[in-house]
């Protein structure tokens, strides 16, 4: 199994490269805003409000991302448990379904990299410079469709919904799935009830349940 540190560094490099629908500069700006949301005043106010929709203020546009894209990143990073379908559909009307989905993936990957560093007491990885100036190919996979989620997902096979959630953006999906495999599921070991790790499976699942409960995630 690939060491966690190597996988996190690879994820960092992946976010510095061109994506499916976003350029490298845009992906890195999304990571920067995911990181900033931890101390952002507007995000804190929105998180504390009875309803996030009661705060009408918006984040300004970034250097490479629109105000809507920046807002998507901040809401994902700071209060994802209270996102709604109508809000997501509004964002997708402006951004497009594919860009929205790629932003979800980048925010998730960036969260993993940064939360791990904070948890173990290490310095946050420095955001890299873009490694590509290429334009994204913007090719929509032909194997995606409506499976009941807010965004299109793979209709092939019988994968769990969570494992195909980013299948609309394959480049980001590969990075995401590699992270999950290295930090949690470990390939075929996932199907075993006993894990040969420093923490046993029950301990890992309890930590996972506590984390997702604190973040109020239904899934």
């Amino acid at each position: 199994m690939e060491p966690i540190a190597d996988r996190l560094l690879q994820a960092r490099e992946d976010l510095a490269a061109v994506g499916d629908w976003l350029a490298a500069e845009q992906r890195l700006e999304a990571w920067q805003h995911t990181r900033q949301s931890r101390s952002n005043e507007l995000d804190a106010r929105r998180r504390q409000a009875l309803s996030p929709h009661s705060i009408s203020d918006m984040h300004p546009a970034g250097q490479t991302l629109s105000a809507t894209a920046i807002d998507v990143v901040h809401r994902l990073a700071s209060d994802s448990g209270r996102l709604t379908r109508s809000w997501a559909e509004g964002a997708m009307t402006e951004l497009g379904e594919e860009v929205y989905t790629e932003l979800v993936g980048i925010s998730a990957i960036a969260s993993v990299v940064d939360v791990y560093a904070v948890a173990v007491g290490e310095a946050l990885l420095q955001l890299p410079s873009p490694t590509s100036s290429s334009e994204p190919a913007k090719l929509r996979p032909t194997t995606v469709g409506d499976v009941g989620a807010w965004v299109s997902q793979s209709v092939e096979g019988s994968r769990a919904n969570v494992s195909r959630s980013l299948s609309l953006v394959p480049t980001t999906d590969r990075t995401w799935r590699s992270l999950v495999d290295s930090l949690y599921s470990h390939g075929e070991e996932f199907y075993e009830l006993e894990w040969d790790r420093a923490l046993n499976r029950a301990q890992v699942e309890l930590v996972a349940a506590r984390t997702t409960s604190l973040l109020e995630c239904f899934y």
Binding site: I4, V118, A119, G121, A149, L179, V180, A198, S213, C217
Partner: protein, 109 residues
Amino acid sequence: MAFAAEAFGGRESPALDKAREQLLAIVGVDGLRDAAATIAVFNGLVRVADGTGIQLDPNLTTASAQAREELGLNRFAGSANTDPANTDPANTDPANTEFSSIHELFSQQ
């Protein structure tokens, strides 16, 4: 659990430093890294699940019905994405699940 409670938000704090030291003393460096990796990856999984609005898979909708009720999980906003009637008939028989309630699960220890 204290470590998860302090680390899940990804913010440095004296309370997190203390929880980290306490966990380190009990499970060692590798255990600490396992716990941190789990907290980190589920931070990401939450963003993906909430951001894409995925539904519970039918078999999970069936198998988790009682636990969701007992733990109050149906009050989470994301529950709106799942139709509780979208179940897997093969999983409606309690005999098909290892435990019939969350209480039974935790009373096995």
